[in-house]
């Protein structure tokens, strides 16, 4: 029996360079615009934005109420908005009820508050399994939830984007908003971790 020899795939790095060259030559892409775009997502758009939102909600009860009633507008009060943040819904995690966010169909993620998604969020194992066995998936990621905590998995299947308001950890009563923001992690705002007491 004869088998065809598999054709080696061209390296993706080189194909990326090739597409970039072709589009620049045609005047369709400006490399300086590309650089600026990349720099924005490497430095200015990331979980530090969401952390500011969470820290404010922890310290300002009226802001917290506005945030839970209408996430997009309350987040925009802090000057945070942009692509993939058209309609953000904020849900609160409590000892009784724990929300965890996924996008099983692609990797939809609230960019303005969390930046671009991390590798585990985009990985097929997370996309496939968290809607099937969330308790086991969270345990593999290092979060063991008590049996009595209800789990709600949010599959982001439209342009609605979800942000988790994590529980404020004990022992942080005297901390300032900035100090609190430094404690808030990306993983806690997706619901695969809790914010830890420092």
């Amino acid at each position: 029996m004869s088998e065809t020899t598999p054709v080696a795939r061209l390296p993706i790095e080189l194909r990326t360079e090739a597409l970039e060259q072709l589009l620049i030559e045609r005047g369709l892409v400006d490399p300086s615009v590309m650089d600026k775009f990349i720099q924005t997502y490497e430095t200015s758009v990331g979980p530090m934005n969401g952390a500011k939102v969470i820290a404010k909600a922890w310290t300002d009860p009226e802001y917290r109420a506005r945030l839970l009633a209408g996430g997009t507008a309350a987040i925009a009060e802090l000057g945070i908005k942009g692509p993939q943040g058209e309609h953000i819904v904020v849900v609160e995690n409590t000892p009784q009820r724990h929300n965890v966010i996924v996008c099983t169909l692609c990797s939809c993620y609230p960019w303005p508050v969390l930046g671009l998604p991390p590798s585990w969020y985009k990985d097929p194992a997370y996309r496939a399994r968290v809607v099937r066995a969330p308790r086991a998936v969270l345990a593999e990621m290092g979060l063991e939830l008590p049996a009595e905590t209800e789990i709600v998995v949010r599959d982001s299947s439209s342009e609605v984007r979800w942000l988790v308001l994590p529980e404020r950890p004990a022992g942080t009563e005297d901390m300032s908003e900035d100090e609190l923001a430094a404690l808030v992690t990306r993983d806690a705002m997706v619901g695969v971790a809790k914010v830890k007491t420092p």
Binding site: L22, V89, V137, E150, R154
Partner: protein
């Protein structure tokens, strides 16, 4: 048909990756270039029709979807859309790639662009719908047991199952037709909550799954 991206509840993927706090935004430099190229090319073709981009992602072969990773599949989908819009000739990227590594191959001539005849009625995906929502918070509904062959946001693991309307979200254009440049068809969108035992059987661990479903994906349960 269950499309390549329709992963919810599928088996065989192994353990999830452990998060690390200091993961860089882009693991390698080419990923950042692919990210920017995909988004900027989308603007050149369709004024950022994200649904058309997702539809392109879902039409990639398994190697192009999985083996090149997340930004690799973005690059592959961008190339597919650029070729379909006749902005690039078929094989243009491959020919240039081979030349970049020193092979003496001819490059195809640039074709005459043939972009989709498309203009969004507004920025973004949110729209207004004159009719009131067909379903109310607390109402029991069923996700239709349909098997569309094109783009849809109705995941296969939800089809045919009963859920409860948890929230009414702002109306939005319908990805199923928008992805194919067949019209915006705005609809009401609902966050529908499903019981895990409804989805995965009586032995499943108890939890809830919610998803955003467009009005035409749902039917009343009487």
């Amino acid at each position: 048909m269950n499309r390549i991206a329709d992963l919810g509840g599928t088996e065989g993927w192994g353990r999830v990756k452990t998060p690390t706090a200091d993961e860089p935004v882009f693991a390698q430099e080419w990923e950042s270039r692919a990210f920017a190229l995909a988004l900027l090319s989308m603007g050149r073709i369709s004024g950022r029709n994200l649904d058309a981009f997702r539809h392109a992602l879902e039409r990639l072969g398994p190697d192009d979807y999985f083996k090149d990773g997340y930004y690799g599949r973005w690059l592959n989908a961008a190339e597919l859309m650029l070729v379909e819009s006749a902005i690039l000739a078929p094989g243009a990227v491959e020919a240039r790639t081979r030349r970049l590594r020193g092979e003496d191959v001819a490059e195809p001539a640039a074709p005459e662009p043939n972009k989709p005849d498309y203009a969004p009625t507004a920025a973004g995906s949110l729209r207004t719908v004159d009719e009131p929502p067909a379903f109310a918070v607390g109402e029991v509904v069923r996700a239709r047991d349909t098997h569309p062959t094109g783009h849809t946001k109705l995941s296969s693991y939800l089809r045919g199952h009963r859920g409860v309307i948890e929230m009414v979200q702002p109306a939005a254009l319908l990805p199923d037709t928008h992805a194919l440049f067949l019209g915006e068809n705005p609809q009401h969108v609902y966050t529908v909550s499903f019981d895990s035992r409804e989805l995965w059987g009586a032995d499943a661990e108890p939890f809830e799954v919610s998803a955003e479903l467009y009005e035409s994906y749902l039917e009343p349960v009487s």
